[in-house]
Amino acid sequence: MKDPRFLRWTLLAIALGFLALFVGLPIVTVFVEAFRKGMAAYWEAVRDPETLSAVALTLLTAAISVPFNLVVGVAVSWLIAKYRFPGKRLLLALIDLPFSVSPVIAGLVFVLLMGARGLLGPFLERHDLHVIFAVPGIVLATTFITFPFVAREVLPIMQELGNDEEEQALTLGASGWQILFRVTLPKVRWGILYGVILCNARAMGEFGAVSVVSGHIRGQTNTIPLQVEILYNEYNLSGAFAVASILTVLALLTLAGKKLIESRVRVRA
């Protein structure tokens, strides 16, 4: 029972038109504006020392928060998928919390907690530990924001695939770690991979939370998104878009990665 041809084409046109307008155009804009002043200007913007240090900081932040959230995400998924205990729903809600909180609030809570006048402020000051307005603060805020990402992808798959293989391995005498690394993780590897690339994309692109906790010290505490904002506010539109294009390419690669993984996954959550 297919829809009549005319209807199909109309609906298709509207749907594709909507997507072209809201998704396609912005992406095209990024690249058009990035190259507006030519290839030379583009490379200059990308190779500018401040941009490079922003890239370095962004990579460092992702390199810390993504593996951490991976480890904790796997632990969380294991806990919820393999056992029965009261309070699961509450736990799930708490873990999902950073996903539904505004990024600005995420930044705010870290300032309230670890700023000089915050709850831990005096303690940090006494031990000469600088968290807010320094790199650790940026990493912490990013870790907070991306906390649920891996769990969100791995848990449904673990649940869907059940525990039969694990229990068989148990009866065969395998230890907990052996079960984890030889049975479970291989089973959910595509979910892990997808969760990691999503977590990474968000960690590198986070703006709101980082904007609040960064000191905006040029060449030191600016991530790529913050550098984009600075360039944008300094009459340097093409430079801003040039730097933005770095992350746009990353986003496109993320999507390509997702497509690749989906074509290998046989189980859909």
Binding site: V72, I105, V109, T143, I179, E206, F241
Partner: protein, 291 residues
């Protein structure tokens, strides 16, 4: 898959001998979960609670209902509602088109739906602004007709449509895929018109998913900062979104004001989360019923 919140399984896993489960590692995984959940999420959030407790009750209340804050809530929540509705309408359409029709490039379009999720918010923000300013590609057509998008509430809504786009599509797609085509064929052979089938068979089936997607898109849009702050006008009382108000209050040393607005937004997030959880359970149940 990306955007659906995690939830409990529809049926318990088989083969339980003990009340908790026979697999080792409960203690460790519980310990890790609780420790790092506390360190990374709960203790920082407690900073907010602590600050609230240390504030004067009346000052807090005044800050929550100050006219400027009210205007910010109106804008953030109002625009999110409009954007959510737009995303529902077009989201269902896009999901339908992606699941039911074959066309060249379908795989590409399917991937593109996730772009707002993968793209950094600041990049989206400056791109959207550049499009809609008076001499932007879209702005130059809209402005002469009096349709101000950039620096107007409409721009806020546009940015929110962008960030919420994947949510409805991704929650509705699996449901549409799951829908038994037989039912539609049976309805057709029984003489039902296409529109009738749509109303009585298809829409009720996707409704819980649509509501879930709407709630997700809404929650995301309300708290959104990076994509919106460039295109909004930031005029107090008119085009100032709530997250920006928090930042502005922070920059004025007004911690009480910032905390107050943050509390309201957190409350909204909780309500949205709660609604999503409830709806998710219903989606799960109707999926069960259909199986």
């Amino acid at each position: 898959m990306t955007t659906v919140p995690i939830d409990l399984p529809a049926r318990p896993a088989r083969g339980r001998l003990t009340s908790r489960g026979s697999l080792p590692g409960f203690g460790l995984s519980l310990g890790m979960t609780l420790t790092f959940l506390s360190l990374v999420v709960l203790i920082p959030l407690s900073g907010l609670v602590w600050k609230t407790a240390s504030l004067d009750r009346t000052a807090l209340l005044h800050a929550i209902v100050a006219p400027r804050a009210l205007a910010a809530y109106r804008l953030s929540f109002g625009a999110a509602l409009v954007a959510g509705t737009v995303n529902v309408a077009f989201g269902i359409l896009v999901a339908w088109v992606l699941t039911r029709y074959e066309f060249p490039g379908r795989s590409l379009v399917d991937a593109a739906v996730d772009l707002p999720f993968a793209l950094p918010t600041a990049v989206a923000g400056i791109a959207l602004t550049t499009l809609y300013v008076p001499d932007g590609w879209l702005g130059r057509f809209l402005e002469p007709h009096g349709l101000k998008v950039a620096f107007a509430p409409a721009g806020v809504a546009v940015a929110m449509v962008f960030v919420g786009l994947p949510f409805v599509v991704r929650t509705v797609q699996p449901v549409l895929l799951d829908l038994d085509l037989h039912m539609e064929e049976v309805a057709a052979t029984l003489g039902a018109s296409r529109l009738y089938t749509l109303r009585k068979v298809i829409l009720p089936a996707v409704l819980p998913a649509v509501l879930t997607g709407f709630a997700l898109a809404f929650a995301r849009a309300v708290g959104e900062y990076g994509s919106v702050v460039f295109i909004a006008g930031n005029m107090p009382g008119k085009t100032e979104i709530a997250p920006l108000l928090i930042v502005t209050k922070l920059e004025q040393f007004d911690y009480a004001g910032a905390t107050a607005v943050a509390l309201v937004m957190l409350l909204a997030s909780f309500v949205a989360l709660f609604a999503i959880n409830l709806l998710q359970a219903r989606v799960g149940r109707s999926a069960q019923a259909r199986r």
